[in-house]
């Protein structure tokens, strides 16, 4: 199972990269995707998550080919 991961704005700057790819043997939740990539580094508070460009909960299941995004609170307008 292959998952594309994107990071935006201050979170991307902090992590030092904009994208990741994760190959997982089992189905994961959004929280497990983060944990698989960043091990014991906790998800920063207030981080928002999206799956396939829709806001998602950390408990949402991710499927093969999904795009998962992590980003700070939005500040447009």
């Amino acid at each position: 199972m292959s998952i594309d991961i994107k990071y935006f704005a201050s979170l991307r700057d902090r992590l030092g990269r904009a994208e990741d790819r994760l190959d997982a043997a089992t189905e994961l939740t959004v929280a497990e995707v983060w944990a698989a990539l960043w091990l014991d580094r906790p998800l920063p508070p207030n981080t928002l998550t999206a799956v396939n460009m829709e806001y998602a909960e950390l408990t949402q299941r991710v499927r093969d080919g999904d795009e998962v995004a992590f980003f700070p609170p939005v500040t447009g307008g």
Binding site: M53, Y55, A69
Partner: protein, 145 residues
């Protein structure tokens, strides 16, 4: 109904005039146009801001702007709506966002314009990075209104 991202400066009044000129089919129907223009200030949160960069999430941003306008049109009887939002590098006094809605009635126009702006600020994936004398900084969150 039109939603657009722009990566170069735009003139909201010119855009508005140009778009309204295409609405000839609505002449005589709309009694109320409510418009909001957000403009880059040269100060924010206690500091002078020299420049700003607006980042977005290509695909997700457009989709959510579209959905926000559609939700407003379900809640209020709108005849048309126009949303233009900048991305990229901005200078103070550059327009950031234009929201315009046309309706028969002013209550609907005012409420829908306001709703679109609040939803855009709360949900559309944009992020502001400001250049200040102390270096760059990301804006942490939008003020609720």
């Amino acid at each position: 109904m039109k939603i657009e991202l722009r990566d170069a400066p735009f003139d909201p009044l010119v855009e508005l005039g140009r778009y309204q000129n295409t609405l000839t089919g609505l002449h005589g129907q709309y009694g109320a146009t409510a418009i909001f223009i957000g403009t880059m200030r040269d100060f924010n949160d206690g500091a002078t801001v020299q420049e700003m960069t607006l980042e977005h999430y290509p695909g997700m941003t457009e989709r959510h702007l579209q959905r926000i306008v559609e939700a407003a049109a379900r809640e209020w009887p709108l005849l048309d709506a126009l949303v233009i939002h900048r991305v990229g590098a901005l200078q103070p006094n550059d327009p950031i966002v234009l929201v315009a809605v046309w309706s028969a009635q002013r209550a609907a126009a005012f409420a829908a314009c306001r709703l679109i702006m609040e939803e855009l600020k709360a949900k559309a994936p944009f992020w502001k990075r400001e250049e200040t004398a102390a270096g760059p900084r990301w804006v942490a969150h939008n003020t609720p209104s």
